[in-house]
């Protein structure tokens, strides 16, 4: 992994909760499907690792932003699905607003000096 790739992994780490909420806002999903979706959305530039995924899911569930339910038994064993809650939706909107504000601010601060 090149240095530039590891830098972006660090800067994304703080936003994983919001990223997952965004995906779940669209439709319910389970662990590996979330990882795949993140990989697809980033065109392979960012791979969400299982430990980060589970840490984030537990945190979100603890904050009652998502709830889990078990799906049907497939040959791979029972799957744990997650759905977003109203609390989760509000947090998603709040985080998106905060991110847009921060991004605009940083862009302004990084403008070339004249």
């Amino acid at each position: 992994m090149g240095k530039s790739e590891s830098v972006s992994a660090d800067s994304i780490r703080g936003h994983i909760d919001t990223i997952l909420l965004r995906i779940l806002d669209n439709h319910d999903s389970y662990g590996y499907e979330l990882i795949k979706r993140v990989s697809q959305k980033s065109d392979g530039r960012y791979e969400l690792k299982e430990p980060s995924l589970y840490t984030s899911l537990r945190r979100l569930e603890g904050q009652q932003c998502i709830e889990s339910y078990w799906g049907d038994e497939s040959q791979g064993g029972r799957r744990k699905y997650y759905r977003i809650t109203p609390v989760g939706r509000s947090l998603l909107q709040a985080n998106l607003a905060a991110w847009n504000k921060a991004r605009d601010l940083i862009e302004d601060l990084l403008k070339e000096e004249t």
Binding site: Y30, G31, Y32, E33, I35, K36, K49, E50, P51, S52, Y54, T55, R58, E61, G62, S74, Q75, G76, G77, R78, R79, K80
Partner: protein, 224 residues
């Protein structure tokens, strides 16, 4: 897939079988199997796919480190008190013979009887608890506490052992005189000095049982 399941079981082996851990095990396994199926459909060999799956979960560090769970207070208390009553009863029985000839033995035996009565009262009080009351317990904290109690007991016992041996045989050892035990009565007194403090073993045993009681009394709880 067997080697994958074995790998995950191995990772979870050192964790207590709480509801949260059992569910985590199922979830992790099913997600890894989905990953493997995906890799296989992209042309990877089974060996490579399984290796990828194992590499994606190198450890269980992301699990709740405090290992908290919710227990029914009533079931928890009753379980512990039952075990304590059992330990104290055994301690009372084994110290009973010493009532006849050993002062400390008599005192200790009476003390155990009083403890049994106290534990019995607590037991009947615990039965009055509502079945729906719950308590949050941290298994990691219990494990630490249990370890400390064992260490303290070991220290106490070794110290006491040294003290008794020093008092009884100090001059023998110092002056290199052989030890004479003049008959069964003196032997019994000596045995009592060593044996009676050992009955305090019930304390670390009872504390260690608390962890087991927690698992037996676990109920479905809200996430903290």
């Amino acid at each position: 897939m067997d080697s994958l399941e074995r790998y995950i079981n191995q990772l979870f082996a050192r964790y207590p079988k709480t509801q949260a851990n059992l569910e985590a095990q199922d979830e992790i396994l099913s997600n890894l199997r989905a990953r493997i199926a995906d890799d296989l459909s992209h042309g990877l060999s089974e060996k490579e796919a399984i290796a990828n799956a194992k590499n994606s979960i190198p450890s269980l560090d992301f699990l709740d480190s405090k290992q908290r769970l919710t227990v029914s207070t009533r079931a928890f208390a009753l379980n512990i008190l039952q075990h304590v009553l059992l330990c104290l009863s055994v301690a009372w029985i084994v110290t009973l013979p010493f009532r006849m000839f050993h002062t400390s033995g008599r005192i200790l035996n009476t003390a155990y009887l009083l403890m049994i009565i106290a534990a019995g009262i607590l037991y009947f009080l615990a039965r009055l608890l509502s079945p729906s009351t719950v308590t949050r317990v941290s298994l990691r904290s219990l494990q630490k506490a249990s370890r400390w109690v064992w260490i303290l007991f070991a220290l106490f016992f070794l110290l006491d052992l040294a003290l008794v041996t020093g008092i009884r045989f100090g001059s023998n050892l110092w002056f290199s005189r052989p030890i004479h035990i003049n008959g069964p009565y003196q032997f019994a007194l000596l045995a009592a000095d060593y044996f009676l403090p050992a009955t305090f073993l019930w304390i670390p045993l009872a504390v260690q049982h608390v962890g087991k009681a927690t698992l037996e009394a676990e109920v479905q709880g809200d996430e903290a």
